[in-house]
Symmetry: C2
Subunit: 529 residues, 2 copies
């Protein structure tokens, strides 16, 4: 295929594999596509990850000989890696299409990197979830966690990636995932200047006032890390704009901005800032939904609801998901629209999450307490107003998404939110989606969902009533529109656009005189710090 | 004086009064320059407010016949207003130079306006102090507080202002103060289209992601209110830029922006967006500092510190002031720089504040607990590491500001912070100021202060050590520079620039073809919602 004729918009997986023949794809993410655990009989079993990234990448990486690097999470992960000889485990194990490699940090650096920095400091910052007057208190321990945890594990990832790059003559394309790996690109760039590196942030990116709550040295390293990439990607225009604004207003690194090209000049290089929303693998999802276990779980859910109208939520137990306010909105709904009492069941289907972090354990307790209080206040013969289930059961979620009459997706902030997209595709009852305006998915789905202000539970209560009261044709039209929107995008396209932009970045690199002039569109008096 | 020759930069109070002769100045703020209370003997006594606005305005309003409208806070306020006949109380009472009028809302609307909306919802929003996963929960009560409290009291203010306007032939200049009165201008504009209206926000203004946490209808009314002014003013370029960005990205109102002129076109009118930092009244401050009581309090403070080095903080007990983290930083300082133990006293001099709000009572407890813990850990014979005093004693604060060796001003966010400015002017010991980069004052004082990241207590601990270890010449140079900076600006200039900009706005109004074309400097893809 002539490079000039490449059409990334309509490329098939087969064409992509051809394009990648002379390239070497390396994916790195904290959590990988494969996890090994010993089952009750003592045998090691592989369990495939189900997250959006794994789904998106896996299709594309079939038969590419690519390598996926992630952190070992279980002793069995390490064991399998050692047993494999070259440290690589085939994926899928029975018919290897690409390879999985594990880095194996010691438990203490991993804890500092994962619990202290990634999931407490960065995750909370990126979702505007600091309780600013009280937390975080950035102390010596936080600073040590940065140096001995976050930096160290990012270095481990980089070393593993560099060692892969050094073993190949093909052109390396590196795809770094999310806030765990902000620093990685800089370490790679030091030793493999020719690599093409893409970083994708799956969380929101905040505006400068909030980003500046991080200590300057941490911000500097994050920026140096990301600006060592060729392309940095985000889910929505809003996050990309916020990132550019952080580049513009930050004191941590000196950059030149070209807002028209959406690029940042840094250290003599040009970094493209792009946005492409992740999506779902429609085929895989349909296949899952057609499994007999799903049919069984659907039947059980209906039974539990006693044939009543189903309001559904599906989430990790995670403060950013705003589960307690969702419950409170439902309570106000039952209180102020009493004719719905006895006619609706709120199925709150949750996964346990990050139970090692105290704030998450407390949040789980609030959720359970909240459900209990509603049932105490409203339950009557045979009617259970809230049905709360906390279990790591994906098929149950798929079943519920086919069956909802209304779906509550009200995160305070959320990078994308794939539940809304899965719901739009799976649902068979013209269900209405209540979607937070602060979910990345809202940027695509507005007009096909009811917009939720996540803090306003009284408004949300009224929206529940509105959703359940809508005429059938209106519900059908919205559901149809939501499905159409979601069907237009695929996880494969998400990956294609990353590869396409790496190719653009490569061309810019090869130009003799890179255009780095600063065509700043922010007025200069906006430069704040 | 010919209008063309007016030089607002060097205008004297006398010239200003002349300029204002054919104008009628109305100031409105929640809290006014005067408060009446019955003393122990049963006699009503006037107490003059000491805030920045009162100071700034009072000098300028001498002999102008202006009216200042505020909310009655005590039964005696209402009583005095009734007793005065025309509802106006002279200020100062013994020799009236301008007039004070009280609005008298019923207690419940006032509580909804003051506690629920102004001080809980808006204040916390404007300082990035929501604990987003948990609070605020915007429920029916919040919505009712908006309608029956915030709106209602803003209307009361507007009615009082309009009734003043209707009694005069002079041109009305209206100066609205702060977040309590965001809605007021719109109500005034409905009935007095010819009034020139200025609103000044004394708090920070946040960036759009955070502003959007408010319900759309509240944001819409806030924007409609502010954009009914001729000029809206902020302390710093950063806040003004954030406001413009909120205008640009908001879905609540449709506006056109002219970023070069820093103006917003709305409803066929043009609104100027300006920034001018408030300052202090140097003369009045010096006069206060020379009072014998101050000398006495200074002596007592020195005695209490036993001649040790003095680290000082002066603040309201207010979560945004970040008092607990300041204490924690001091603890780390004592722990990790042990040679300072026994040589430093941290005088934490606080005013009680908003004790009706539970979060404030809890915050006070944390502060006291924190001081207790440090004293328990480090106190030794005769040395009290933290000297905490909570008392409504301004003269004590003035005394402490003359005496500090280092001044801790580490708010998480702060519209301006006049303590840093007062300290720079009053201090006699070449004391070093540790100033949060998120205080408005930092925009002016950078380079003359040590910059504090308010969340990073380890960094702050090191800064305390640094401040106390600096060579004498360096301390002197910084203190001198800080004083020079603060001396350049006065509270009178702050007011002059408001009047100057109202005059500009008036000229724009009179132009036959106002230039409202949108010369947007934000790229269009940044338009987010």
């Amino acid at each position: 295929m002539e490079p000039e004729k490449l059409d990334f918009d309509d490329m098939t997986p087969r064409q992509l594999r051809r394009y990648l023949q002379d390239k070497f794809v390396i994916v790195a993410s904290n959590r990988g596509p494969l996890e090994f655990r010993r089952d009750n009989s003592g045998e090691i079993r592989a369990r495939r990850g189900a997250g959006g990234v794994v789904t998106a990448m896996s299709t594309a990486l079939l038969a590419t000989d690519a390598v996926w690097i992630s952190a070992a999470r279980t002793p069995e992960d390490s064991e399998m890696a050692r047993a494999s000889g070259n440290g690589k485990v085939g994926m899928p194990p029975e018919d290897p299409q690409y390879w999985v490699r594990f880095i194996r940090p010691d438990p203490e650096p991993f804890r500092l990197y994962y619990d202290v920095i990634s999931n407490t400091l960065l995750w909370f910052m990126q979702h505007y979830m600091f309780n600013v007057p009280e937390s975080p208190v950035i102390d010596r321990e936080t600073n040590r966690a940065w140096d001995e945890g976050y930096r160290a594990v990012n270095r481990l990832f980089a070393e593993e990636i560099v060692s892969e790059i050094e073993q190949t003559d093909r052109q390396p394309l590196v795809f770094l995932q999310d806030y765990h790996l902000f620093l990685c690109a800089r370490y790679i760039r030091e030793r493999a200047p020719h690599a093409l590196i893409h970083h994708f942030t799956h969380s929101p990116w905040v505006q400068p006032d909030y980003f500046h709550l991080l200590p300057t040295r941490m911000r500097r390293e994050i920026m140096q890390g990301l600006l060592s990439c060729d392309v940095v990607g985000f889910h929505t225009p809003r996050y990309a704009a916020n990132f550019l604004q952080c580049c513009h207003e930050g004191d941590a690194v000196r950059v030149s901005l070209n807002m028209k090209k959406r690029s940042v000049g840094y250290g003599g290089r040009e970094v493209l800032v792009r946005h492409y929303p992740i999506s779902i693998d429609h085929e895989a999802l349909k296949k899952t939904a057609s499994r007999p276990e799903v049919e069984e779980k659907r039947r059980r859910l209906r039974e539990r609801a006693g044939g009543r109208i189903l309001l559904v939520r599906v989430d990790r137990i995670e403060p950013s998901k705003n589960i307690v306010r969702g419950m409170e909105a439902y309570r106000l709904f039952l209180r102020h629209f009493p004719h719905w009492r006895g006619k609706v069941t709120f199925a709150v289907l949750l996964y346990p999450s990050r139970e090692g972090i105290p704030a998450y354990r407390r949040y789980r307790e609030s959720v359970e307490e909240s459900a209990r209080r509603i049932n105490e206040e409203f339950a009557s013969d045979g009617w259970e107003p809230v049905y709360l289930e906390v279990e790591d059961d994906y098929l149950r979620s798929v079943a519920a998404l086919t069956e909802y009459d209304a779906l509550m997706v009200n995160p305070v902030f959320d990078g994308m939110n794939l539940v809304a997209k899965e719901g739009a595709v799976l649902n068979r009852r013209d269900g209405v989606i209540l979607l937070s305006v602060n979910a990345g998915a809202y940027a695509e789905m507005r007009g096909a969902v009811l917009p939720v202000n996540p803090l306003d539970v009284w408004d949300t209560a009224q929206l529940i009533n509105h959703a359940l009261s809508m005429p059938a044709e209106r519900r059908r039209a919205m559901a149809l529109r939501a499905r159409e929107i979601v069907m237009q995008n695929t996880s494969f396209k998400w990956l294609l656009r990353q590869i396409q932009n790496l190719r653009r970045a490569e061309r810019i690199k090869k130009e003799e005189t890179p255009h780095l002039e600063s065509t700043l569109k922010f007025p200069s008096w906006m430069k704040q710090i």
